[in-house]
Symmetry: C2
Subunit: 116 residues, 2 copies
Amino acid sequence: MSSRKSHKTSPALTPAVFHILLALVEEDRHGLGIADAIEHASDGSMRLGPGTLYRSLKEMTHEGLVVEVAPRGEDPRRKFYRITAPGRKRLEAEALRYDRLVRVARGRNVLPERAP
Amino acid sequence: MSSRKSHKTSPALTPAVFHILLALVEEDRHGLGIADAIEHASDGSMRLGPGTLYRSLKEMTHEGLVVEVAPRGEDPRRKFYRITAPGRKRLEAEALRYDRLVRVARGRNVLPERAP
DNA sequence: TTGACACATATCCATAATGGATATATCTAT
DNA sequence: ATAGATATATCCATTATGGATATGTGTCAA
């Protein structure tokens, strides 16, 4: 189905970037809020150290995957981030890759069949 | 916050190790055959360099995730590997993590709903 | 048979990605 | 005012990966 080379396939995201985007697609969040959301969404199996967290946010901002938005009153220390349209596209592409792998795994009986 | 479950959750696999196990769950393969299978299963988005490939196979053998099996006649240069029961368990755990993430993504409308 | 080239494993080195300690500042509660 | 939690940020060490290189063997055609 997918063409050989017709459309530009975006390079794979690092796990850290993927999780950050997935956390931001729900709502704008600040650094530590992102870390907490990731830990929750992954049921505790994924945790970002502060190094990876803030470094990634800085790079993602430069790459235009996220933008910093005005703080929400409360705590002025917090810097909130919002996913951009390009960020959403990259996230979708990566989620599709994951989905394909899960289907392969299921097709090889690594996982049980999906509930009806 | 403490973990909900008391049973230890196996540490996450690196993408390279996950893909190698996924390639071997279908059938025994040799090094380059694994690399080809990975490229195919990921629709070209995942490719392992020789460094990562042979290094991973060596480590995975030491960790008991795979075992080397007798070559299949043909080409004596090839070293075939087979996934072990522990390897399968680790693969299943990782595939479940991926599946959970895909469901989260779908729940946040990153991916379209599954076909009925 | 003998080159020429592809296949296959293996190792080395450079780069990329991550984790954790540390630093600095601010908020909250007592 | 003090203590402790929250929050961002940076530094350093470790891990993971990619690509070049090395070495040996198989295959094929002249």
